[in-house]
């Protein structure tokens, strides 16, 4: 019995230390000449002959990790005294993207012809880029550790854009860098504020020497989002309660209150049921716990990948008893998907947060935008 007790104690300690990761918030460095307003994960500084990009804590759980890149105009002299592997020649002519979420920002700048390779072409939503895949202009370069290095070498891109990976993937990265190919980490998905995430278009602006276009796209997004937000605040009094996600077996991963989606719900005049939680990752909660709170929910959003009420019942028939299920208030973010599973919510959703906001506000307050047709969301019947 003593062994059992000590195990129990160890388990409790482990849980206490890692169950609720208190994110202290990144210390925002004031960098002279930084052109970034909101985003916390990168800075962009215009120097005399180049642009300095700093990606801050580029993967989940990273602290004090800074990746610095120097964007140098083609034909210019290399900056002296810097690591040449961190020098990226701009404007880019060929890029490989490890995530489909970067495609929308490149397309928005009118540079989709530069995309030469994507990891997981099946998950692309953009019809224009899918057409390029069919023509063979965009190839699938494989996944993470099983990246097709020979293919990448053959494409010989100016840059490979990767996303939040920890030290475990440094192996394959090292190999690519050894081949002389430039790699940049994009940490936009770690931004918890919708507008911060949209601001990453400025990185692409710098990479394609289209800073002005990127700035104006970002600015109009900020204006539109802020306008909608204050309109919603003025016109609404009640705050419908919102439940998110779907359980896996008896565990329900809950997005914390400081996440991208919870901020959207809050701005859209909703009351996310776990707004009081704070964590940098989804939290595994017990099903009965979530269920109990879920009984209060008026609306249920982002319900896994389901498209029908039946699929929810199949996951767990007990979910049928939730009032939001009975009242038919189910909406999922898979309105724009391809047969292969590409979902535009993940592709252009992060570039146009005001559209996400408008969708969610329309769901929670149908009277607000009576003429708005849902774009990313659809009602689950």
């Amino acid at each position: 019995m003593n062994t059992f007790k000590s195990i129990l104690i160890i388990l409790c300690l482990t849980f206490a230390s890692c169950g609720r990761v208190e994110k202290k918030g990144l210390v925002k460095f004031i960098v002279a000449g930084n052109r970034i307003e909101r985003a916390e994960r990168f800075t962009l500084v215009q120097k005399n002959r180049w642009t300095e990009v700093k990606i801050i804590d580029p993967w989940q759980g990273a602290t004090g990790v800074n990746q610095i890149y120097y964007l140098v105009k083609r034909g210019s002299v290399l900056p002296g005294g810097v690591d040449s592997s961190a020098v990226i020649f701009v404007p880019l002519k060929k890029i490989i993207c490890m995530s489909t979420t970067h495609l929308a920002m490149i397309s928005a700048l009118g540079e989709e012809q530069t995309i030469a390779g994507v990891s997981g072409t099946n998950f692309i939503y953009s019809p224009a880029i899918i057409k390029n895949v069919e023509k063979g202009l965009v190839v699938d370069v494989g996944y993470e550790a099983n990246l097709n290095k020979e293919l990448i070498l053959k494409i010989s891109p100016d840059l490979i854009m990767i996303y939040g990976i920890g030290s475990e993937s440094s192996g394959y990265l090292g190999k690519i860098k050894e081949l002389g190919i430039k790699v940049i980490i994009n940490a936009d998905y770690l931004e918890t504020d919708p507008l911060s995430r949209a601001e990453w278009i400025k990185l692409f602006g710098a990479l394609y020497c289209k800073e002005n276009l990127a700035d104006s796209l970002y600015k109009s997004e900020v204006d539109e989002y802020t306008r909608l937000k204050s309109f919603i605040v003025q016109k609404t009094t009640n705050k419908p309660k919102v439940l998110l996600g779907l359980p896996f077996k008896d565990t329900w991963y809950i997005s914390p209150g400081n996440s991208f989606i919870s901020k959207l719900i809050n701005d859209a005049g909703g009351d996310y049921l776990w707004m009081d939680t704070e964590s940098s990752i989804s939290m595994p909660f017990g099903l009965e716990n979530v269920y109990l709170r879920g009984l209060k929910a008026d609306y249920w959003l982002n319900i896994g990948s389901v498209s029908s009420r039946n699929e929810i019942s199949n996951v767990d028939p007990r979910l049928d008893d939730l009032p939001c299920f009975k009242n038919d208030n189910l909406f999922n973010n898979n309105n724009r998907i391809t047969v292969n599973g590409g979902n535009d919510y993940w592709e252009s959703g992060s570039l146009y947060p005001h559209l996400l906001l408008k969708d969610i506000a329309t769901i929670l307050h149908p009277e607000l935008f009576s003429d708005h047709e849902l774009i990313f969301y659809k009602k689950i019947n």
Binding site: T3, F4, I7, L8, L11, C12, F15, G19, N146, L246, P247, F248, K249, D250, T251, M283, P284, F285, G286, L287, E288, N289, Y291, L292, L295, G304, S305, V306, N310, E311, I312, S313, N314, V315, D316, P317, R318, D321, V339, N340, G341
Partner: protein, 355 residues
């Protein structure tokens, strides 16, 4: 050697009272842990509210939690503990191997392969969510077939190769081979399916619908009845197959009965709850140590009770009472079972005597 063992098997009248005492103690523990499992969970509910929820028809939120979540989960935990421990005991005897258990000899791996074919093998337009409904029946059957196939293979090998270590190593190789196949399937499957499969491998007791629970109860009951009938056969097999044959036991028939009950029990548990490790191997050892006997007339009921106790305890721990989070139950059973197994290995020299 054989005479010593026969002495061990004969019931000593003095120890009869002691055995009864341990049995009543275990029974009490089962009841206590069953009640605790219903009272403790990730939602804190006052004991009075729990009692009210069970005995009155209030239709409150707590009643839903107790009756729809905790009660089925507690019953599942009890059933799973019994089924895995009992199949572990039977395998240890049939293979005459202290390290045998559903998860060690590849039975669980076989069931996993069946499940992997169902979860990962379907085309991408079948979502794992939709498989949870009708697919549960496919899941169980696939799991049975997988568990049965591996069990059959191990049986065939063990009828030709007598050495325990060789069989054990072959079992480990078989598991490794199966997990390699599963790895390949994981590599080619999409993220949602992958996540569904990974979560399944972590084990879960709280997701069974009433109809699934019924299937589990029926199949495990069948397994228990078969093993209660086979206690004599198991005792005889413990003395070696040649000896068992010489006292008039139909070895092939005995093996088939034990084979069937083990596959049914381990297979259905694995299908519904995932591969739950180390219960099957650890519990029989705890029971042998507790009762100091190798008589299956004592071991089988003892294993049934102890299996229930250990699994209920694991479930309570995995719920981390009072906190919102939960742990995968498989991690808890492993942490409890592994020390027992290590201990058995360390005193193995003394222990081989029982086989």
């Amino acid at each position: 050697m054989k005479t010593v063992k026969q002495n061990e098997l004969s019931v000593d009248p003095d120890s009869g009272r002691k055995v009864r005492l341990i049995f009543s103690g275990l029974l009490l523990l089962v009841v206590i842990f069953l009640i605790l499992d219903i009272f403790l969970g990730s939602v804190s509910i006052k004991p009075l509210d729990v009692i009210r929820a069970i005995f009155t028809n209030s239709h409150g939120d707590f009643e839903t939690i107790i009756l729809k979540f905790r009660l089925p989960k507690a019953i599942t935990a009890l059933t799973v503990g019994v089924a895995l421990s009992l199949s572990g005991l039977q395998m240890q005897t049939v293979f005459r191997n202290p390290m045998a258990g559903p998860d060690v000899l590849g039975i669980s791996s076989g069931a996993s392969l069946g499940v992997a074919f169902v979860i990962l093998g379907f085309s991408s337009n079948v979502t794992p969510e939709s498989l949870n409904g009708l697919g549960n029946w496919i899941l169980v059957t696939a799991s049975w077939v997988g568990a049965g196939a591996v069990m059959l293979l191990i049986m065939i090998i063990s009828s030709r190769v007598k050495d325990i270590m060789t069989i054990l190593i072959l079992g480990i190789m078989l598991s490794a081979g199966i997990s390699a196949v599963v790895t390949i399937m994981q590599y080619f499957s999409n993220e949602t399916m992958l996540k569904a499969y990974v979560i399944w491998t972590m084990g879960s007791l709280g997701n069974l619908t009433v109809s699934q629970l019924n299937v589990l109860l029926i199949s495990v009951s069948a397994g228990i009845i078969l093993s209660l009938f086979s206690s004599k056969m198991l005792n005889a097999l413990l003395l070696g197959e040649n000896y068992a044959g010489s006292i008039g036991l139909n070895v092939k028939f005995a093996r088939a009965v034990i084979f069937a009950s083990t596959s049914i029990m381990a297979g259905s548990v694995t299908a519904f709850c995932g591969p739950i490790g180390f219960i099957g191997i650890a519990v029989p050892h705890i029971v042998r140590i507790l009762f100091k006997t190798s008589d299956h007339k004592v071991l089988i009921p003892g294993t049934i009770l102890m299996g229930g106790v250990v699994m209920l305890f694991s479930d309570i721990v995995s719920q981390l009472p009072g906190s919102e989070s939960v742990l995968p139950v498989n991690a808890v059973t492993s942490l409890i079972g592994i020390p027992v197994v290590i201990w058995v290995i360390l005193r193995n020299r003394k222990y081989t005597g029982s086989f």
